[in-house]
């Protein structure tokens, strides 16, 4: 068991990093807009498709392969800049203040539309673009070869975590978002442009999801269904960490990834359900998640 400890930790952290990018965006959008965006996973897969396509174009054009690293970031930014404001202004804003069931139905409809659009544009076969992974090579840890790219993902996830903390706590935009989260009406009365705050928060959420997808491409094939697979895990993370909790998303990502990895190592038959068994256990004890707090509601 002990000789497995290092590989277990490494695998859990590498898996957690990828889940975290998606979950933190999901939880950010929920905390600001009070919307559980089911279409969030589609932004992940679109980010993956754009990143893979851009990487393939770079290589086929004979450009420096190291450019594939900034291309990952650029892809996520492109997806966020185009889809973030577009989706928020044309669709999401009509759901503010409405019943949760309507919000979920609208975003689920958007998810289905985006999934079919991806099939139309990118086809049904897997796309592979592993240049960044190949450039970084491998390292032996605990007798097992790991991709250095996996280590980079862990570092990037930490950078996003601390970057988000810095944004919320130490920037003007962060303070505006906190004010909107605390009370939208009072924020509006104080002169805060809440519409703009909503667009920015949603776009940032889309960027984080697309970044997760873009960063996943060097180690996975991009195919239809990728968004749904990731989204389900991101929901488990958000539920365990507490919706709207950024640090909670980080801890919950490690818990979910750890449960899955432990299952693969010691009980492979349960590897799919393990994260959800953990989620169930957490919600039975703490219905608002590990870091969530109960809120009062006027009736």
């Amino acid at each position: 068991m002990l000789d497995m400890a290092l590989p277990l930790i490494m695998d859990a952290l590498a898996n957690a990093a990828l889940i975290f990018f998606v979950a933190v965006g999901l939880t950010l959008v929920f905390s600001v807009q009070r919307i559980l965006n089911v279409a969030h996973g589609s932004f992940y897969s679109i980010g993956a498709y754009i990143a893979a396509s851009m990487g393939l174009w770079l290589i086929s054009a004979g450009l420096n392969p190291w450019l594939s690293f900034p291309a990952l970031l650029l892809s996520a930014a492109l997806v966020a800049m185009v889809l973030g404001p577009l989706v928020e202004r044309t669709l999401i804003r009509w759901t503010y203040g409405r019943h949760e069931a309507i919000q979920i139905l609208v975003t689920f409809g958007l998810f289905l539309i985006l999934e079919d659009l991806q099939r139309l544009v990118f086809g049904v076969r897997s796309i592979y673009q592993d240049t960044p992974m190949a450039l970084l090579g491998v390292s032996e840890i605990g007798g097992i070869f790991y991709l250095n790219y996996q280590l980079l993902l862990i570092v990037l996830a930490l950078a996003v975590l601390f970057g988000m903390r810095f944004l919320i706590k130490h920037t003007r935009l962060g303070r505006l978002l906190v004010a909107v989260v605390a009370d939208r009406e009072v924020s509006l009365a104080m002169g805060i442009n809440t519409d703009r705050a909503f667009v920015l928060a949603f776009t940032l959420g889309v960027f984080l999801a697309a970044l997760g997808g873009a960063l996943a491409t060097p180690t996975t094939g991009v195919a239809p269904g990728l968004g749904a697979e990731t989204m389900v895990l991101a929901f488990a993370v958000a539920a365990i960490g507490g919706l709207g909790q950024i640090e909670g998303a980080a801890v919950a990502s490690i818990i979910v990834a750890g449960a899955k990895v432990l299952a693969v190592y010691y009980a492979p038959a349960f590897d799919t359900v393990a994260p959800f068994l953990v989620m169930l256990a957490v919600l039975l004890v703490r219905p608002n998640g590990l870091f969530g707090t109960a809120t009062t509601r006027k009736i």
């Binding site: 898996n15 897997s126 991709l147 991009v222």
Partner: protein, 430 residues
Amino acid sequence: MKHIVRTAGTLMASLVLATQAMAQDKPEQIDVGVFTFTSGAPAAYGQPGAQGAELMVDLINAAGGIDGVPLRATIVDEAQGAEGVIAEYRRLAGETSYQVMIAALSSSNCLALAPVAEQMQMPTISWNCDTHQLFLNQQLDYTFRPNGNTIPEFVAYVAYLLQVNPDIERVAIINPDYAFGHDAAEIVKAAFRAFKPDVEIVAELFPSLGASSYQTEVSRLSAARPDAIFSNLWGADLENFVRQAQPRGLLTQSQTVLALGETILQRIDLPDGVIVGMLGDGYWLTPDAQANEDTVAFAEEYATRFGEYPVFPTMKMANSFMVMKAAYEAAIEANDGEWPSRDEIAAALGGIETATFTGTARLREDNDGYVDQVIGVTGPSDTYDFSVITNMVRYDGEALMAPLGEDPIAWIETLTPEFLETLPEPGSYK
């Protein structure tokens, strides 16, 4: 009154059945329903099958069709799930222009379609599904499988592995998490118990079908330190797994067996020495295939049209079309030149033996096929810029099939290590 209604109903039903059973007029066109995956992760495997069907239709039509009647294939996507597949099958089978179905790719869809084929009396050629459960404990009169099944396929891999590496002791398995993966694991374990009982299964993983990441599984397999890794992952899952395992050294750390590995040889640079095969004999570069000028022409035409050489799902599909054509011709001959009914085509398919692009298709009494198993290892090619299969062996399909009526797993358990000595040596097929 009741009596009149009942009699009229009986007469009408008899009339309908009699009409179906009678020889039919020669149609202007033969419609064939072809079921495969054209979307989703399995499309990486199913699309070459669909392309093979397209090319075969064109080739048969260019040569005058079947008895002068041109073919038209209707491709049905199996990604819609079993309910949708059954609905599509029923819809097509309801039209008289469809006299044969070539269905299906997925074993679960074949199991679902078999009773429908019986009910609708529709001759159905299983072009790819190979679960040994299809003909287990049931007599199917309208389902025919010239494609072979999981028992000879996976027993052959264990035999080959032990022939080239008799000292292995630790084996890991990574298969897809559904019947095909679990059945294969059971067969492989049973074969090891029969041929080398001291082999220990050190890891047994069943990742979800369509999973995108295998990094944890790669770590787990590496940590288990197996002498050999067996996998029957397929389609995009196989491609994903190999692309993630290879940079981390897994494929060279252990003797890897990729049961469906032939499908990715043109897309991925596999290291030399990986044991790969094609679940049958459907490799366009076997000595038999290369000696057949029709096969060579088919492969070249396929490469010209689709940009890559055929893979074994293509060959399985093409071979199924050849079986269908042979059955039509036999049925027409048996019918004194008249156009045959579905029942007459089904009768011609029973016990059929006909040459294919890669060998011979031969059905036994239960409509299951004897198919030779070709296995080898990856190696460099002087002619192509991708790995080819070298050190090949061709096992006689009948020798690896459980006798008719016997439980296949129980039959494997009766085999002994001496059985391996009766098989041809790796490298003997050249």
